[in-house]
Amino acid sequence: MSENAVNAEELAADRSRMQISDTEVAVEIKSMNKWYGDFHVLRDINLKVMKGERIVVCGPSGSGKSTMIRCINRLEEHQDGQIIVDGNELTNDLKKIDEIRREVGMCFQHFNLFPHLTILENCTLAPIWVRKMPKKEAEEIAMHYLERVKIPEQAGKYPGQLSGGQQQRVAIARSLCMSPKIMLFDEPTSALDPEMIKEVLDVMVGLAEEGMTMVCVTHEMGFARKVANRVIFMDAGQIVEQNEPEAFFTNPQHERTKLFLSQILHH
């Protein structure tokens, strides 16, 4: 009873600006395969992400979720099939790769902030060096996004002086400073304490409400229900099932999905 009440309140995300384009494709993955040595880690992946979509990817540990989203910005190389990001196909062309990485932001489980730079410098580094933005302008933009994630007062500190949740919010702000068209999240909250999870999820919900195209690997099912328009379930390197969040959670079809959901929902 009480669980339902909480869910109802949580589901109240502002969906007015969450618009999914019918024509513009953000990411398209076509029969993609990847191996680590002899190990076939991703098998025949097909995924089309339209502009404005908010996709949550879940699945058991080792199922290839990280590997898949890291292929989207070429942190991992795929060996077979096609990945097209924002109209550009990912090949060995380094220039293309840099171009794509500029448009795709990514947040990691362990934040990966640069510990030798202040928070502000972490945020201005890429705009200054990659976008060739004047320092002053970059700092204004950085402060804007630090305010968005509610930690402008930490700008002068170093990452080592911040809590985990604050660090992850900085990491999100750092990505946003590059004004990415697509944001990738790889378990952004799984290294955090429960209290901090909320502050990070709130920022992510805010992003979704503004219409950002997002692909999130996460096990935060509340988040999935609240903002996702599609949930993808992966197992053993394959996409096993995908559906709208409500249907996915209440009426899973595949045996492995049922097993997985029963494990994460009732423990």
């Binding site: 910005n73 171009e99 795709v104 990966n112 640069f114 510990p115 030798h116 990659v130």
Partner: protein, 384 residues
């Protein structure tokens, strides 16, 4: 209900207090650290006695019994009945120009002084983190200063017009040679070492192989061999008539030698940087060299400052080996002065070596302290 004993609830806020003062004065510190128990007190006393018995004779020799003025050996000979004679600083003072400039012509010594002055003027602000214009400063120190110094020290002549008379490097000596070799070696071996370390970790097989072979070759031979080969064997292989300054050969040998060591130190630092740092940088769209220069190397080099300075200090002291190929660095110059009958006294050798030790210590200790200062300066809180 039965758990009444473990129930507790805070009724008042605990007051926020100032941090306790960690030491209560000198006496408190001594009591805590030196005399906290009988065993500790005994150790302290023994330690003081040992220190006293080592330091007192030194002070006696170097200061109390020392002779500071005089024109020749008679001033420093043991006075009848006064026992053991002290250091003969008068000899060091008399020889100081030779120790600092070698056999550089007296009327040209001003040129060396300009180089020394420029060196200090450019290096000091470069080392001070708060000094402005770091970029210009570094450019002046690393590019303009070497060029100016080169012409100032070796001379500049166009045909018959003599701007600065040429001074052959064979006439250089003393601290001048020590510093030229050490500074060139230090400044050149760091970037070369970084390049080699990156090369060794490169994915490109040829670059990797060349780096590995280079590093292992130079690490595998003793410096003395390198110096000996460069000055004795190399000329045999060069075509007839091609000469190649001996100091230059030594400089190249020393630089390549220490670059190999530097490369391994830097590689250690590179290996300590987590993969996430590379990924964070790449995900932002930084190019390879931007990632290396802005993210990876600053962190890697900071981690290995102690190792880098260790290599620098080793290199500084290894400059004394150039004596083997007939060049006179500070130590060589001091040793060669021992043959002067004018100053031959029983303590001449002790004084000369003591002077060399003091000069080397000042430079090496300076580098060591500076590295500790930089480490603290660059410390940006705990890693998570």
């Amino acid at each position: 209900m039965a758990n009444a004993d473990i129930f507790q609830i805070r009724t008042e806020e605990a007051p926020k207090l100032a941090a306790p003062i960690s030491t209560s004065g000198v006496i408190g510190w001594m009591r805590q650290n030196l005399f906290s128990s009988i065993g500790n007190t005994v150790l302290t006393v023994i330690g003081i006695l040992i220190a006293y018995s080592l330091i007192m004779p030194f002070i006696q020799f170097a200061i109390i019994d020392a002779v500071w003025t005089g024109d020749d050996r008679t001033a420093c000979l043991a006075v009848e009945g006064a026992g053991h004679a002290g250091a003969c600083w008068a000899y060091v003072i008399d020889y100081l120009p030779q120790f600092i400039y070698g056999r550089y012509p007296t009327e040209e010594i001003y040129r060396v002084n300009i180089v020394y002055a420029l060196f200090v003027l450019l290096l000091v602000p470069l080392l001070m983190p708060s000094a402005p214009y770091k970029g210009i400063n570094a450019l002046l120190f690393l590019v303009v200063f070497p060029i100016i110094s080169y012409f100032l020290l070796t001379g500049l002549e166009f045909g018959d017009t003599v701007v600065l008379p040429i001074v052959e490097t064979a006439r250089w000596g003393g601290l001048l040679v020590t510093l030229v070799i050490a500074v060139t070696g230090i400044v050149a071996s760091l970037p070369l070492g970084i390049a080699l370390a990156l090369g060794r970790r490169s994915n490109m097989p040829i670059i990797k192989m060349v780096s590995v072979i280079f590093i292992e070759f130079w690490r595998g031979v003793p410096l003395i061999t390198v110096l000996f080969m460069s000055s004795v064997m190399l000329p045999l292989f060069l075509p007839e008539g091609v000469t190649f300054d001996k100091l230059l050969r030594v400089l190249i040998g020393v630089t390549l030698f220490s670059a190999a060591y530097m490369a391994e130190v830097v590689r250690g630092g590179l290996q300590a940087i987590p993969k996430g740092q590379y990924e964070g940088a790449m995900a932002l769209g930084l190019r390879f060299w931007q990632m290396m220069g802005l993210i990876i190397l600053p962190q890697a080099l900071k981690l290995v400052i102690p190792g880098i300075v260790n290599t620098f200090i080793g290199l500084f002291k290894d400059t004394t080996l150039v004596l083997i190929v007939g060049m006179f660095d500070l130590l060589g110059q001091i040793q060669s002065s021992f043959s002067d009958p004018n100053w031959s006294t029983p303590t001449q050798g002790h004084t000369g070596y003591l002077f060399a030790a003091i000069v080397f210590f000042i430079f090496c200790f300076g580098m060591s302290r500076y590295s500790i200062f930089m480490e603290n300066k660059l410390h940006t809180g705990h890693k998570r």
